[in-house]
Symmetry: C2
Subunit: 418 residues, 2 copies
C-alpha cells in the first residue's frame, strides 16, 4: 500500500465511523468525554513519558525555550485538557435541534435540523493539547476528526490519541472516529488535502506559513485566518481614559496572540489631548510606538513608521499609530490594512458607533471594548476550535455550532405539488 492509500484508508474509516457518531445520543457523547478526562488522568505517566521523548528530541534539535514550553505537557496543561473535556461535556448538544419550523401554504411543515458536517481535518503545530481539544469538540458535534499535529509533538499526539481511542473502544464506538496521522511526513499532509470525498472541512491552526500552505494545496474547504491585525480607532469625542484602558489592554495584556491590538488610529481633533496621554502609558509598559508624522510631533519618542508597519502583525510590544481626519478615513485605513479579524472604535457618538459596526468588514467589530474579547470563550460559544476570517460558513470565532450545518426537513401528510 502506498502512503497515499494508507492516508486515504484512514479517512475512509473515519467517514464510516462518523456516520454512527452523527446519531449518538447526547448522554453517550457526554459519558465518552468524561471517560476521556478520566483516561487522561489515569494514563498521565504514559503521556508524560511519550511527551519526554518529544521534549528530548526538541532539545536535540535546538528548539527555543518558548517552543519547548508550548510542547511540554505540564501538570497545568494536563489539568486544563481535563477541564476542557468536562466543559465540552457540559455544553448543549447542537445536533438535532430544529429551527424555523413553519407551515407552508401547500400544507407541508418545513424546518431546518442541525446536523454534523461529517469529518473534520485538523492540521496544527506544536501544542499537543489541540489534539484533545479538537477531538472533544468534533465528537460533541457528531463529527469524525482526522488529526495532524506538528512533527515535533508526534509522540505526545500519538499517546493522547491512543488514550482517547481506548475510551471509544470501551464504549463500543468505532475508534476510527478519531484518526491521527501516523507519520510526520510532509507528503502525508498533501495526500490528506486531496481527500475531498472523505473529509468535509479542514481547519489549520498555526503560523501564517502553515495556513497558506494548507489553503493553497487543499481541495477541501478550509476555514482559517492568516493573521490578526486589529485596529483601535479613537474618535473625536472618545472618553480618553477609557481609550487609554482599551489600547493598553489590547496591546499589552497578551501581545503574542491574534486578537491583540496592532494599530491605533486617532481622530485629529483628539490627537493633541490623547497622544501624550496614551504615549506615557505605552512607554511605561515598554511599548514602542511607530507613528505617522503627526504622531511624531505630538509624542517625540515615536519611531517614524515605515510603509510596512501599516497592516503588520507585530505580536510584540510595538504599536503602529496614525492620526486620521475622521471616521471615514479610519474605516478606509482599516479596509486597506485590516485582516478582517477584529476592529474597534472608542467613541461617545451614537452615529459613529452604529456606522462603524455596520460598515467595517471584519469578523468582529466592537464599540468601546478591548480587541482581546474576540474569543469563543468570551463570546459564550463554549470552547473555540478556531477563528475564521473568510466569510463562507463561519466568520469569527468558531464553536460547536460552526462544526455543524443545517439540513431541511419536511413533515408532510401526503402533499404533492400541483
Amino acid at each position: 500500500m502506498t502512503m497515499h492509500d494508507t492516508i486515504r484508508q484512514l479517512a475512509v474509516d473515519c467517514k464510516q465511523a462518523a456516520r454512527t457518531l452523527a446519531t449518538l445520543p447526547t448522554v453517550v457523547k457526554n459519558r465518552v468525554l468524561a471517560g476521556m478526562a478520566e483516561g487522561i488522568m489515569a494514563q498521565r505517566d504514559f503521556i508524560r513519558l511519550e511527551n519526554d521523548k518529544d521534549l528530548a528530541a526538541g532539545r536535540d534539535k535546538g528548539l527555543s525555550s518558548a517552543m519547548l514550553d508550548r510542547l511540554a505537557l505540564s501538570d497545568k496543561v494536563i489539568g486544563s485538557m481535563v477541564q476542557g473535556l468536562h466543559e465540552v461535556a457540559a455544553l448543549p448538544d447542537p445536533v438535532g435541534e430544529i429551527a424555523d419550523l413553519v407551515k407552508r401554504p401547500s400544507g407541508i411543515m418545513v424546518g431546518r435540523m442541525r446536523v454534523p458536517l461529517g469529518v473534520v481535518g485538523m492540521i496544527y503545530e506544536s501544542r499537543p493539547n489541540v489534539t484533545v481539544d479538537a477531538a472533544a469538540l468534533c465528537l460533541k458535534a457528531g463529527n469524525g476528526v482526522f488529526l495532524r499535529g506538528g512533527s515535533e509533538a508526534i509522540y505526545s499526539n500519538l499517546a493522547l490519541a491512543k488514550v482517547l481511542q481506548d475510551v471509544l473502544v470501551a464504549e463500543r464506538i468505532n475508534p476510527a472516529a478519531i484518526q491521527i496521522m501516523p507519520t510526520t511526513d510532509r507528503e502525508a499532509v498533501n495526500a490528506m488535502l486531496t481527500l475531498e470525498e472523505q473529509i468535509d472541512l479542514i481547519i489549520p491552526r498555526g503560523g501564517e506559513g502553515l495556513i497558506r500552505f494548507v489553503a493553497e494545496n487543499s481541495r477541501i474547504p478550509v476555514l482559517k485566518h492568516y493573521k490578526g491585525v486589529c485596529h483601535v480607532f479613537v474618535d473625536r469625542d472618545a472618553d480618553l481614559d477609557m481609550a487609554v484602558r482599551i489600547v493598553m489592554n489590547g496591546k499589552t495584556q497578551r501581545p503574542g496572540v491574534c486578537n491583540a491590538t496592532e494599530a491605533l488610529l486617532v481622530h485629529r481633533d483628539a490627537a493633541d489631548a490623547f497622544l501624550p496621554k496614551v504615549g506615557v502609558a505605552l512607554a511605561g509598559a515598554g511599548v514602542e510606538i511607530r507613528g505617522c508624522a503627526a504622531t511624531q510631533k505630538l509624542w517625540p519618542a515615536t519611531v517614524p513608521a515605515q510603509d510596512t508597519d501599516w497592516g503588520c502583525e507585530f505580536l510584540a510590544l510595538i504599536l503602529a499609530v496614525k492620526v486620521v481626519d475622521d471616521v471615514d478615513a479610519a474605516m478606509d485605513h482599516i479596509a486597506r490594512h485590516g485582516s478582517q479579524h477584529t476592529e474597534a472604535i472608542v467613541t461617545s457618538g451614537y452615529a459613529n458607533a452604529q456606522r462603524f459596526l455596520r460598515e467595517v468588514d471584519a469578523s468582529s467589530v466592537m464599540v468601546n471594548a478591548s480587541t482581546r474579547f474576540a474569543d469563543g470563550g468570551q463570546y459564550g460559544l463554549g470552547a473555540e476550535i478556531g477563528i475564521s476570517t473568510t466569510k463562507l460558513h463561519a466568520y469569527g470565532p468558531m464553536g460547536l455550532k460552526e462544526l455543524t450545518t443545517q439540513k431541511f426537513i419536511v413533515y408532510g401528510e401526503g402533499e404533492v405539488r400541483s
Copy 2:
C-alpha cells in the same frame, strides 16, 4: 492588457462597488429593483432584438428546439423576469439584522449581525433569465455580482446587463456592482476562477459537466449540486394510496428537474400490495420501471435493472425500483446511491419517520411529501439562487440569507480583559 488582466479589473471594480452596496438602505435597493423591472419593460424591443441574434446563431449552429426554447426571451419569460424583480423587492432585507444579542459576564453585549458576502460569481448555461434573477438576489443581499452566462446567450445577457446597469447609473450607484463577462472565451472562466481576492463565492448552474469543471478549477469556494438522485422509500405500514400519489407526483409532474424522484424503495412486506398498484399508475403515465428481481416478479412489465440504474439521474420517465428488507436497508441504499439532494419516506410509523429524518444525510429529508417540494419558493425562502449539496455554508435550496454571512458585533462600555 491581457485577457486575464481585463477579467481581474472587472472583478476589482465589482469588489469596490460592492463596498457601497453593503450599506445601501433597503428602500434604495427596492427602488433599484423596481426600476430594473421598468427598464426591462421599456427596453423590451432592444432586448428582443439582441435575443434574436442569439436565436439566429443558435439555429445556424443546429441547437435543438428544446435549447432554442430555453434561450428565447418570449413575452412570458420577460414577464416572469419582471415579476421576479418585484418579488425580490418585496422580500425582507436580511442585511443588518442582529441575532443572539446577549450580555456576557464581562459586561460586553455580543451579537451576530448579518452582512453581505461581498462579490458572488455566477456561472451558468443557456437561460438568459438567470442574468436578471441572480443580479436581483445579489443586489438585495448587498453583494456585487460577476455574471458569466452561456456563450449561446451572449447577446441577450449583455443586453439585459446593460439595462440593469443603466438603472444603477440613474440611481448614482457604481454600475460595476453588476459585471458581466464580455467574452465567451472559455479561458476567461479559468481566469475568473483564480480571483480569490476579489470574488467570495462561485455558484455554477447548469449540467453536471459545467459544474464539475468549475469545482475542479476554482480557487474560490463553490456552492453547487452535481445532480439530484431522489429516492422515495415506501415503508411497511405506508398509506398505499398516499404512496402512489407521492411517487407519481415525484416522477411525472416534471421529470426533467433535479428534485424529481428517480428511485423507489419498497419495504418487502408492502411490496405484494404496493408494486402492482403503483405499477398500473406508472404504466398509465408511460413510465418505464427498471427493477430488481423481486420487483420483476411482482410487476412483470419491469425491465431488469442494471447496476448503473442505481444512483442514476434519469431526468426522464424512468424509475428504478428495489424491494428492501427494512428502513435500515433503505437508508443504507440511500447512503450508497443518493446524491444528498432530497430523500423521502412514506410511512405511518412515528419511530421510522423520526429515524429517517434524523439519520438520512441529505440536504432535504421528507416524511409523507413529494420530493418535488425541495425548492426555495416552496420552502418560503422567496427566490432561489441555487441548491447546495455540500455542507459548508449552505445545504439545500439557497435564498437571500445564504447570500449573506454573520459577523460578531460587540457593544461595550469600556470593558477590558483581565
